[in-house]
Amino acid sequence: MNWTAIRAIYVFEMTRFFRTIAQSLISPVLSTSLYFVVFGAAIGSRIDQVEGVSYGAFIVPGLIMLTVMTQGISNASFGIYFPKFIGTIYELLSAPVNFLEIVMGYVGAAATKAMFIGIIILITSFFFVDIQIQNPAAMIAFLVLTCISFALFGFIIGIWAGNFEQLQLVPLLIITPLVFLGGSFYSITMLPPVWQTISMFNPVVYLISGFRWAFFGIQDVPIATSLLAIGLFTALCLGAIWWIFKTGWRIRQ
């Protein structure tokens, strides 16, 4: 393992993040606050409680997940797309590193940024609602796993994308609907049976359910299933990236 190289990539990427830290934080914090106002205050006043948890608190895990997933994807996809776009990728390709080291550097940095923003959202939510976290360790574990797996997914998108539109298309077209329909703002059990069945095909349901379980001890699907789902997703992404570097798909002619 070329740890020096991994650290070099990681530090370089984090520098970029901290250079634009204000921009990086202001938009997620603002939109989360808006969600609290709209969903928590306006809708929450009518829904009151979901499975014994106040609606305002109930949506916190989903909101964090929503942010963390989109941030993980956009950070990692941009992180690898940018060198491709401006041509600096030549250096990565000519460096004595293997795919795992490149991934660890870029995905590690992207996941860290997502994690950072996720925690900021959590802190923001303390200002709006009263929440107790039942299982902090599990909460952190789920957060970390989600950050990493979605950053991996973003990395693939960044390599696949041929232009900036494509870079934004996947998050917009696939992730946003999956996350919104994944029980961020409601419990799956509130849906009619047909939709409950359909929801089971949405991987995001498992992540949000598991994450929410760490907060409140309530779950839509068993916690083991949640872990399995996230493990499977991570493995799939890793496999895809391994294949990409093996074949040189879209990066090495």
């Binding site: 070329n2 070099a8 970029r16 990565l92 004595p96």
Partner: protein, 311 residues
């Protein structure tokens, strides 16, 4: 001297099926400076990219200090520094950070004194805290060199380092290469400028249409191909070389107004005096006599146009 880079039968076909390298063989000695000359699209960049790992070879083998670029890519790549043809840099990053990054990426631990030394040598030390976008084009090119040198490579590839660079910077660049040679760094550079190859290279390779036409010591090349020509301009046009002059290596030029005599500068007797005597005896009137020495440029042009001349 030992061979530091060995390229054997290297072929490269791009995805579309275009064969950019058609079986390249090239051995490069440690510590030498070799210039690869070739027209646009000859395959110079493809050759460099393949050795450096940016493109995949279709077949053939390349070793760097004995390490295969595919099976021992870590060892091989650690020894190589690459300055690409196109300027590609992170615009918002600081000069010193990008150089540190390169060093780390190639597996060398942080060493500020080494980075400082490189930046000073490239006259970038004053600009170390500037963002790349604040630099001039020539400075950016030097940042690329600094990045390539950051991990102290033993082999340096310079892909057209002086394209679009002013005379002064070009001289600077040559000096840098000269200094690197003193440190034992082997340099492979590509160029369109013959004077550049003439000025700094020990050996010159000519590449065209994916094939190496010739690799030769610069001096040998100059001497071997360094024919001189004597143009004997006549006062009257002739249709053919007179029989009386058939023993000389003469051709008719300028629609019959000039006799062109090729001779070897290095030969003991050039035969000029005798020729001029015989020309008069043949009854021809001289208008003027001009000599020309073929430059590397002529050699290059004739090679690329008729590759058989290389043999």
């Amino acid at each position: 001297m030992s061979t530091i880079l060995s390229i054997q039968n290297l072929r490269k076909s791009y995805a579309g099926g275009f064969e950019a390298l058609k079986g390249v063989n090239l051995d490069i000695e440690e510590g030498e400076i070799i210039a690869l000359l070739g027209p646009n699209g000859a395959g110079k960049t493809t050759l460099i990219s393949t050795v450096c790992g940016i493109t995949m070879p279709t077949s053939g083998t390349v070793t760097v200090a004995g390490f295969d670029i595919l099976s021992n890519y870590r060892e091989a790549r650690r020894l190589i520094g690459l300055v690409p043809q196109e300027i590609a840099l992170e615009p918002f990053e600081k000069v010193i950070n990008t150089v540190r990054f390169s060093r780390g990426l190639f597996g060398k631990g942080r060493k500020d004194s080494a980075v400082e030394d490189i930046l000073k040598r490239l006259s970038l030390w004053d600009k170390r805290d500037n963002q790349i976008r604040e630099l001039s084009g020539g400075m950016k090119r030097r940042v690329l060199i600094a990045k390539a040198l950051a991990h102290e490579p033993r082999v340096l590839f310079l892909d057209e380092p002086t394209a679009g660079v002013d005379v002064e910077l070009r001289k600077d660049m040559w000096e840098i290469v000269e200094q690197l040679r003193a440190d034992g760094v082997t340099t492979i550079l590509t160029t369109h400028y013959i004077e550049e190859a003439e000025a700094i290279a020990d050996r010159i390779g000519v590449i065209s249409k994916g094939e190496i036409l010739l690799v030769e010591d610069k001096d040998t090349l100059m001497a071997r191909m360094g024919k001189k020509q004597l143009d004997v301009q006549l006062t009257a046009k002739i249709d053919a070389v007179p029989d009386a002059l058939s023993s000389y290596d003469l051709t008719l030029g300028d629609d019959g107004w000039t006799l062109v005599y090729s001779y070897d500068v290095n030969a003991e007797r050039t035969g000029i005096t005798m020729l001029l005597n015989d020309v008069q005896k043949a009854g021809l009137q001289l208008r003027d006599v001009v000599t020309r020495q073929s430059s590397l440029e002529d050699i290059f042009v004739s090679l690329v146009n008729q590759p058989e001349a290389a043999q």
